[in-house]
């Protein structure tokens, strides 16, 4: 029973880590690529998504802590990530509509 509970906990923790990793290391860049570099193939999209996500999130977290002393905790990271994604989505949609 205990072993089963333990394996469920480990499994849940792993799923959490995978989801958070995707949110931090993939999603912001993916949105940017989706709106502005949609002609790229899937390998290019993965490369750009990963690189841009790490750059955006890491730099933003650094600046926010440096200038506003906002603590680096999971909730704040997720809020920052969400705001970045929302901004990219809004700007991307607006520019795409203009282009149409």
């Amino acid at each position: 029973m205990l072993m089963r509970q333990l394996s469920i906990d480990i499994g849940a923790k792993m799923i959490d880590t995978i989801i958070f990793s995707a949110l931090i290391m993939f999603l912001p860049g993916f949105l940017l690529v989706r709106f502005f570099y949609n002609e790229a193939d899937i390998i290019e999209k993965i490369a750009l998504s990963f690189g841009l996500s790490v750059a955006i999130v890491t730099l933003t977290v650094f600046y926010i802590n440096f200038f506003f002393k906002i603590p680096i905790i999971l909730t704040n990271i997720l809020i920052i990530d969400f705001v970045i994604c929302l901004t990219i989505f809004a700007v991307g949609s607006m520019l795409n509509r203009k282009a149409l």
Partner: protein
């Protein structure tokens, strides 16, 4: 004449591949021929084979490219995992230092410890990687996983921006060849072994930066340039040189010129907060040391590098001639090649470390060279092309498998467990590490304040004094030197260390608290 050059090129290249294979099978001695010279000659002959090619469609459709990419990516990943099949200790010299700094940053969470860090950290290490590892730790990835499996993934994933850049400047057939050469390059496997973590992540950004270099949007390029500066200063130096030269040679394109100048300026402004507290150490200190005592940097030297790149060196020369023949003098790839070659040739700052970047540009050019001189050469038989490609694949796979299967960490499990034993001592204990070889491990894994002669900020004596300390049996002198360090104090010594007079440790001030796995730990009691 052209036919003669073509056959000579192909025959010599095949002979070179066979020689490389035989050397790795230990059938031939690697110094039997001047193989670097031979490779360059083959490359020059190969340049005559290049024909004016009209822009043609890719040989393979994208589905095939994707399948090939998945296969080589998986193989590259497995090859890099091989050293960890029977071992959990990270590779290279530096994992102990990385572990220490990652945990130092982690200890200061939820803040970034810009002002609290020791000056050797701010001098040697940019904050980027450690802010990133803070995020990874928060989402549940441990330091051990960051130093082992995650590093394996990062090393393998660099094949993607290589594909990206090569596809942009050539085509996707060449891009898949570049990804293959990267994944099984011995120089890149050496980088993996050395665990140049910052280098690997910065290479990723460098390649993305080259992708965005002529893009009309400012934001992606700005993010990439800032990230390069945030993660790794030498990569930033290389990218800046490429970027500035590229912008100047394209000065006729006013839009590009102003956009690039503006982006670079904003990126530099964005880097000010990053280096605000560490400017004197990280910028002034490093620049002064680099110019007053230029070091080579720890990596392969040029002759070793020439040997590990033999498979694609001739092809890279052909690729270089291809760009020159097409008069693509303004290509960022050509600029990268020239700048990087100059740094290595004129032995400028950390020139051996710049071989890591040089290898990547060689790989990209070699892929173009292979494609235009062999795969797109209509006068060659299809089976001959398949034969040459198979030989390249076989030699590369064999060489890299041999490398990874012989790769071991620099320290054994038992030696590491002795260092980890220090975690059981008093919380405020200090540990004097006596060997440069073990000091990074002691720093990262002992969990205690570490004193290393000649390294870090805790060192209070000069080299001569330390040498006297090791060789003397004068306990008064030894005690005087140890008196400046906080107590309780432990001393880490290995049995195979030369030049240490152990008579002094028979004094009653020293108590042998651990003697296991060829390692002795003394406690200083006075």
């Amino acid at each position: 004449m052209n036919k003669i050059a073509e056959y000579t090129y192909l025959q010599l290249y095949v002979v070179l591949l066979i020689i490389v294979l035989l050397i790795n099978l230990d059938i031939m001695w690697k110094y039997i021929l001047h193989l670097g010279g031979l490779a360059i000659i083959i490359g020059i002959i190969g340049a005559f084979v290049l024909k004016k090619t009209k822009e043609e469609k890719s040989i393979l459709n994208f589905n095939k490219i994707l399948v090939i990419f998945l296969v080589i990516f998986s193989l590259g990943l497995i090859f890099r995992l091989v050293p960890y099949f029977s071992n959990q200790i990270p590779l290279g010299y530096d994992p102990g230092i990385y572990k220490y700094i990652i945990e130092e940053y982690g200890r200061h969470l939820p803040n970034i410890p810009e002002t609290e860090l020791a000056s050797w950290i701010t001098f040697l290490y940019e904050p980027g990687l450690f802010v990133f590892t803070d995020l990874l730790k928060i989402i549940g990835i441990s330091t051990q996983q960051i130093l082992t499996y995650l590093f394996v993934i990062f090393c393998t994933i660099v094949s993607m921006p290589i594909y990206l850049v090569t596809k942009k400047y050539f085509n996707r057939d060449i891009a898949i060849l570049a990804a293959f050469f990267y994944l099984f390059s011995l120089a890149q496997l050496q980088t993996f072994w050395f665990m140049y973590y910052k280098n690997i992540i910065a290479i990723f950004f460098l390649l993305i930066g080259l992708y965005f270099i002529d893009d009309k949007r400012i934001v992606p390029l700005f993010l990439t340039i800032t990230a390069i500066g945030f993660f790794h200063r030498p990569t930033f130096l290389l990218f800046t040189l490429i970027f500035v030269i590229y912008t100047i040679v394209n000065i006729k394109d006013k839009k590009l010129f102003f956009r690039n100048c503006l982006t670079f300026l904003i990126s530099c402004l964005a880097l000010i907060p990053i280096y605000y507290y560490r400017f004197s150490d990280a910028i002034v200190g490093l620049a002064t040391e680099s110019f007053s005592q230029p070091g080579s940097g720890t990596f392969l030297n040029t002759s070793q590098f020439q040997f590990v790149t033999l498979i694609y060196l001739p092809l890279a020369i052909v690729g270089l001639f291809y760009l020159i023949k097409r008069k693509e003098y303004k290509s960022p790839l050509l600029i990268w090649f020239a700048v990087n070659l100059a740094i290595v040739l004129f032995k400028l700052v950390f020139y051996n470390r710049f071989l890591i970047f040089f290898d990547i540009i060689l790989i990209i050019l070699a892929s173009a060279g292979l494609y235009y001189s062999i795969l797109r050469n209509d006068s060659l038989n299809k089976w001959l092309k398949i034969g040459i490609i198979s030989l390249i694949v076989l030699t590369s796979l064999f060489n890299s498998y041999q490398f990874v299967s012989n790769t071991r960490p620099l320290i054994t499990d038992s030696q590491l467990s002795v260092i980890e034993w220090m975690n059981n001592t008093e919380d405020n204990a200090s540990l004097l590490a006596t060997s440069n070889y073990y000091s990074p491990w002691v720093l990262g894994y002992s969990g205690r304040n570490v004193i290393v002669p000649g390294l870090f900020d805790t060192d209070k004596w000069n080299k001569d004094q330390w040498q006297e300390f090791w060789s003397t049996n004068n306990t008064t002198y030894v005690k005087e030197m140890l008196s400046v360090y906080p107590k309780p104090l432990y001393i880490h010594i290995t049995e195979n260390q030369e030049g240490i007079n152990r008579d002094k440790f028979s004094d009653s001030c020293f108590e042998e608290v651990l003697n296991a796995n060829e390692t002795i730990i003394y406690r200083y009691r006075c």
